[in-house]
Subunit: 501 residues, 2 copies
């Protein structure tokens, strides 16, 4: 078996040199080749090759030990103990097979040591970071707090290190944090956000892109990106976030979580760094309905019923064909309503959001050139250009649109996809990310315009290439104001009947 | 290959039921069977069986997907995507082989999702938790602070949750913390300690036993257990700890790290929760000499030279035969000195340590029955029995022993093993842990009695059964007071000449 070891060492040298041609050559061609690590399993030679091209080199390491388990003349399992330069130990398990005379890796499983905290997800974490302040139904729940809420003893970082360095330490918890603590939850930590929550992608050029366990190499969705990844990965049970234009619904959709945007004004924004107060809402991301009911029950006072389901066929045109197909197959027939021109809703929403975002943060942004990542900087630059006239015109149209939508919707529950697509790849170009954003925000702006609550239920899925499992998409329920608890019950019923069929 | 899938599902059911007999039957017998996870690779059917018996059941999970890669009629690789109940995704790769007609696992590689922080290692961590307060040679270094030092904004926890709940938030950093920050290091987090630092095992009944990457399932060594594991695992580059009776040297020895106990009094104890002030010292654990020199350079003012190496053959009798053999083979011939009766040194050390520990913490311990884990509670109970007469007699003998040892040692450097054995298994019975402690503390008390600095260099190793790699043991250099920097240089020379030979 000496020749498989030779191939092993060739692979190791190529890995350390980031010799992509040699690495590609040493992995078996075709769709059956597998490579798994903590981020998930990539399927097929090409998906693995793309991954290598995107990462810019493997972490440097030494091989401490190699074990070979011969299976046949043409197959061997090679297990290596690795010592990364940065400390700790890793393991690599590879199934090598001789194909047309050459040894190739047909399956690989790689484990690396983990950092103290994943700083793409967390700014700080503890065991817990803040203990419960009361007893109640949230006992045992751990909260990932989006870094826009005050946590006593910490500054608010807002996803930007310059802001963080200038921010003063908060003396008390935000109301939305305190309500969870008072009902028995603990704070696991302070989790990352897109800068000033002004994005739905889930990228942060300072702290990195939080990983998503649902789509290997996919965007986590944002701006409540850190809490969403923390919950999806099992590092917290409740993500406390905000949703201005989709910042809870989109990460819930991308990562297969429950996500609730509450009725505008229903949860106090005290202690929360605002973005666009006309649309800013507080909400939660969880892995199951029970945790979501607990968080909502701890924080909401008013409760309304919800009526029948309706669908808006025009809205669906803004979803990708696969999402549209999954949605249509799942929801069945319901009364169709006309919500009007979705592009007009989006225009209104973005104009008022931009004007308020600039009013909130424009002075700071102007005083700190270069402090923002390019994507969010571009958005603030555009926001700076919204004139007072444009703003007041948009506010008039907002009032009209809200009145019209309220009339059309009544107490009924609008069903739609939570996002226009599955999570795009984290290495997608900016134009594609922006196109995805445009599609998704046409879907999300109905709740934004009306101030209605919107629940994303992890109910849809779409096959994805290069992966073993399909990618999740959320089914969104937009209900009448204060119908959050009713929406969760409806979401549970939908999920149950979907899993039965 | 349907029958290998049947065996796979039998294994899965047995795993979820913790059916140890069935699990043992489904893993191939003999010494070649392998099972690896984040804690390391276990070698041989029996080591794997012992591990299963010790853990009390695998985390509950669902199998989301199974891929089978047939290798031959009698061999298949089975790759599963797992969904633990607590969230996230895992991967399991198994090589199944048909042995005497039955399918058996011959190698397994298991990956589980990780928590936000490993609370066995950390109480809180950030990215960073505390940024540098200055620029200097420690730029880029991240510090795991033992939870005995004040960190501004946090209470000191001392390894005990009751103490932590009562402790008030510190307004400033301990001097030893501040010195590192001032020279450019950041604080990665606050790391766990054995309760009140009154142990060298590295166990904490409240927060768990920090894992050691050096010995699968082995004790990390204590009481600077959290910082040591953090550094060994690559989660920090400097562990800031204390060494009263071996609390830096022992974890350094067990985990293959550099560990420096400084000259008594050379680093300020301001902001440090004391245990036994006559012996308490501050020091550091690192993966390499450069980080250690940086930490020492930032914190020490006085510098002395170091003379020739000497050995004390009588001391070696307290080490296990394998450690003695490794030591003897590594250090070569040096002048032999007589350090006197090691048991007398240990008696003096433990008597004065116990009297001071009780003086420091006895009132709190008495007021909080049941608050301490059994091991440390037992030690405090024994400490309470030291009479004033015993204490003053021990203090007299301490002064005599110190004078005698200073005369024997002069400016020379005593070489000895840092611990009497490799890391014992974390599931070792209390009596074995205590016997190990007795042996090791005979070795460590020379530095304690004399207040001399002691450096543990990761230079020795001992083969261990059930593992692929040998277990580390430290080579300890006890030098004249204030010779820390000289000792590190000597340690580097020894390591270099050892790796050349």
């Amino acid at each position: 078996m000496g020749d498989v070891l030779q191939a092993f060492w060739r692979y190791e040298r190529a890995l350390m040199a980031n010799d992509l041609v040699e690495l590609d050559a040493l992995f078996a061609p075709g769709p059956d080749t597998l490579r798994g690590d903590a981020a998930g399993i990539l399927v097929g030679h090409d998906a693995i090759s793309d991954f290598r091209r995107g990462r810019g080199g493997a972490p440097l390491r030494e091989i401490l030990h190699v074990e070979v388990r011969e299976v046949s003349d043409d197959a061997a399992l090679v297990i290596a103990v690795t010592a990364p330069r940065t400390g700790g130990r890793g393991q690599q398990t590879q199934l090598w097979r001789r194909i047309d005379g050459d040894w190739k890796v047909t399956a690989a499983h790689v484990s690396l040591p983990v950092p103290a905290i994943d700083s793409r997800i967390w700014r700080a974490a503890g065991a817990p970071l803040v203990p419960p302040s009361g007893e109640g139904p949230l006992a045992g729940e751990s909260v990932a707090v989006k870094d826009l809420f005050a946590v006593g003893g910490y500054a608010v970082g807002a996803g930007n290190p310059v802001w963080l360095a200038e921010a003063s330490v908060e003396s008390a918890n935000a109301t939305a944090v305190q309500q969870l603590l008072d009902h028995g939850a603990s704070v696991a930590g302070i989790a990352q956000t897109d800068e000033f929550a002004y994005s739905i992608a889930g990228q942060n050029s300072h702290y990195g892109t939080p990983p998503s366990p649902a789509v290997v190499g996919g965007l986590p969705g944002g701006s409540t990106s850190g809490p969403a990844s923390a919950v999806a990965l099992g590092q917290a049970s409740i993500g406390l976030g905000t949703d201005t234009g989709g910042s809870i619904r989109v990460p819930a959709s991308y990562q297969g979580l429950w996500g609730l945007r509450t009725t505008h004004g229903a949860v106090s924004a005290e202690g929360l760094l605002p973005l666009a107060p006309t649309f800013d809402t507080v909400g939660w991301l969880t892995r199951n309905a029970a945790s979501l009911k607990g968080a909502a029950g701890a924080s909401l006072r008013e409760h309304a019923a919800a009526g029948d389901f309706v669908v808006a066929p025009d809205l669906l045109e803004h979803a990708t064909p696969d999402v549209r197909a999954a949605f249509t197959a799942a929801v069945g027939e319901h009364e169709r309503i006309d919500i009007g021109d979705a592009s007009e809703l989006l225009y209104i929403f973005r104009s008022v959001q931009a004007a308020e975002a600039w009013a909130t943060h424009g002075a700071w942004v102007s005083a700190h050139p270069g402090a923002l990542g390019p994507d969010v900087a571009g958005r603030f630059a555009a926001a700076a250009l919204v004139t007072a006239e444009q703003e007041s015109s948009a506010r008039l149209r907002l009032a009209e649109a809200r009145a019209r939508l309220d009339e059309v919707l009544g107490d009924r529950v609008l069903l739609l996809p939570s996002a226009s697509s599955i999570a795009p790849s984290a290495v997608t170009d900016a134009a594609t990310v922006e196109a995805t954003r445009q599609g998704t925000m046409r879907l999300t702006s109905v709740a934004g315009i009306t101030g209605r609550p919107a629940l994303s239920v992890p109910l849809l899925s779409v096959p994805q290439s290069g992966a073993l499992l399909p990618a999740p998409v959320g089914l969104c329920l937009v209900g009448p104001r204060h119908s959050e608890i009713a929406l969760i019950a409806l979401g549970e019923q939908l999920l149950e009947s979907s899993s039965r069929s």
